[in-house]
């Protein structure tokens, strides 16, 4: 054939993203709350689980339950293989260079504590500084405070502007010879601000300072490439990416992880033990003491598969559309003010209402079947920065629809009607 037929590129656009079909994968969504269809808009707190995840956990307990890395029997072999397969899936999910760089932990909080207690205690001393930002979740503040208190080091905080964006110049100025570590959120849970982490990492690396990225909110909403970011550590929670609670991931660069002392001692993290000397296991097991959360790791594996099938780029586009629609709709309601209006945002819509406390908003929305988070979102310094005690927060997931945003808007009008 002399002519080549033009084959159209297969583009998975939002128009092929069938949200109604996707919703069928989530059994929990199909219920009534206070007689109204459930509108679940609390995805930044935790996401719902697709049937594939629920079944993976059940099947593991029905068929393969056994301890791993120990027995020679068939069940132990099966469990070990299933568990380690998830490590490889996590490596691919984050585009890590090596599966040894994936450490299983309980969640983002434990991942950050691990780095603070292991890397931090070894490398941060008296008079040194740790730099975070003003938009961090408590889990990326308190572990560093504990470290700084113990070591006589200082916690420095890069400020944010009135839109909730990090002030990059100030951040850069705070990087100095005493800065030993930087920890930043990829995406703010309270404001929805997407930080330019690649740029922040470049700035920190210019001073040879390693950077941890708290990816709890970003991981479910966009493709993360730890090598492209060039971050030294990346932390995420399974339960925020449609997997079970109780499991999460710490990614770390091999060179750093190898130089770090163990976080906890116990079984599995050792190569040999005598009362005189213990030789630690190789990576990643050095950081995984004791029998791990095998079942939920396997559940997390099913969540990775699920997200890979949908394509995170499609999820990202779907949520961007929802957020734009919600921002426009909610902003238009008189007496409502958005908190967090950064140019680069994702997934999260925080708002306050004139003369109405967020707690009351939450209660009234709940009677309409709408689940939002109200309060300080474990980010009290963010609330202080904006001079408010709390906000109401709608946060979107891959299964939310424009109709649900419309329900939220009707709910907000109801709040004004009841309390106005």
């Amino acid at each position: 054939m002399s002519t080549v037929a033009k084959i159209p590129h297969v583009i998975r656009s939002a128009s092929t993203y069938d949200v109604q079909k996707i919703r069928k994968d989530f059994p929990i969504l199909h219920q009534s709350v206070h007689g109204k269809p459930l509108v679940y808009l609390d995805n930044a707190a935790t996401t719902q689980k697709p049937l594939a995840v629920i079944e993976a956990i059940e099947n593991y307990y029905r068929r393969d339950n056994s301890n791993i890395h120990r027995g020679v029997h068939t069940l132990s072999e099966r469990a070990t293989e299933a568990y380690e397969k998830v490590r490889v899936a996590a490596q691919k999910f984050l585009n890590a260079a090596d599966h040894k760089e994936i450490i299983f932990v309980r969640g983002t909080t434990e991942a950050i504590n691990l780095v603070a207690q292991s890397y931090g205690r070894k490398n941060v001393g008296s008079g040194d500084e740790v730099l975070i930002t003003a938009m961090e979740h408590h889990s990326n503040i308190v572990p560093w405070q504990l470290l700084c208190d113990e070591k006589g080091a200082k916690l420095r905080v890069a400020p944010i502007n009135d839109r909730g964006e990090l002030e990059l110049d100030e951040f850069e100025k705070l990087l100095g010879p005493r800065t030993k570590f930087v920890a930043v959120a990829h995406l703010s849970n309270a404001l929805g601000t997407l930080n330019p982490v690649r740029e922040l990492i470049r700035m920190a690396h210019a001073h040879n300072i390693p950077v941890l990225v708290d990816g709890a909110q970003a991981a479910p909403r966009m493709q993360v490439d730890v090598q492209a970011l060039n971050c030294d550590f990346y932390a995420l929670s399974s339960h925020k990416i449609y997997g079970p609670t109780g499991i999460g991931i710490l990614y770390g660069k091999t060179k750093l992880l190898e130089a770090m002392p163990p976080y906890q001692g116990g079984g599995d993290m050792i190569a040999s033990v005598t009362f005189e000397k213990t030789v630690y296991n190789r990576l990643p097991y050095k950081f995984e003491a004791g029998t791990p959360n095998i079942a939920d790791t396997i559940g997390l594996g099913a969540a990775f598969d699920y997200l890979n099938t949908l394509g995170l780029e499609n999820v990202e586009q779907h949520e961007a559309d929802l957020l734009a629609y919600a921002t426009q709709s909610v902003e238009a309601i008189p007496g409502v003010r958005l908190v967090g209006t950064a140019k680069e945002k994702a997934g999260v819509l925080s708002f306050v209402m004139e003369d109405i406390h967020p707690h009351d908003i939450g209660t009234i929305l709940d009677t309409e079947g709408i689940a939002v988070r109200t309060g300080h979102h474990c980010a009290q310094p963010v609330m202080q920065r904006f001079g408010i005690p709390a906000t109401a927060r709608a946060s979107f997931g891959l299964y939310n629809t424009r109709e649900e945003v419309d329900a939220l808007v009707r709910g907000i009008h109801k709040v004004q009607e009841v309390l106005g």
């Binding site: 406390h357 707690h359 209660t363 009677t367 309060g375 005690p389 009841v418 309390l419």
Partner: protein, 148 residues
């Protein structure tokens, strides 16, 4: 809707918008803070006790409609009461908002409007926050009381 109207009764909304005794009490000889770390509600209750009786009482702070109205109505209710009477009223109020009250608050006077809280268990902490602070103030506890 009816449950909501039970919760957000007119009296409650009025008190939350225009709270009574919403002031720092310079003469206070007792004072305590109440804090709900889950939602950020935060009140300071000031009490002036003379001869075992609450001669004056005020409060300051921020919180939701329920917590603020409860604080406001508490100050109205307790002015002039003895410490023992105040303790008794708190116990009955607590029973009312947790649904353990036999008479549905008929003996509670104006505070009976809080009966609707019992349908919203998550809001019990809001309704009782200022009361816990008051109890701490009367006991002379220096630390802020927390609902958690």
């Amino acid at each position: 809707m009816s449950e909501l109207r039970e919760l957000y009764q007119e009296v409650i909304l009025e008190h939350s918008k225009k709270p009574k005794n919403f002031r720092v009490l310079e003469s206070a000889n007792h004072k305590a803070e109440g804090f709900n770390p889950l939602c950020g509600d935060h009140f300071t209750v000031y009490v002036d006790v003379k001869d075992g009786s609450i001669s004056d009482i005020g409060f300051q702070g921020s919180g939701c409609a329920i917590s603020k109205a409860s604080a406001s109505m508490m100050t109205q209710m307790l002015k002039g009461k003895t410490e023992t009477e105040a303790e008794g009223i708190f116990t009955r109020f607590h029973d009312l908002v947790t649904g353990h009250s036999a008479g549905n608050g008929q003996d509670m006077g104006k505070l009976a409007v809080f009966a609707g809280v019992s349908e919203f268990p998550l809001r019990v902490k809001c309704a009782t926050l200022a009361w816990h602070a008051l109890r701490a103030a009367l006991k002379g506890d220096q630390d802020a009381v927390s609902t958690e």
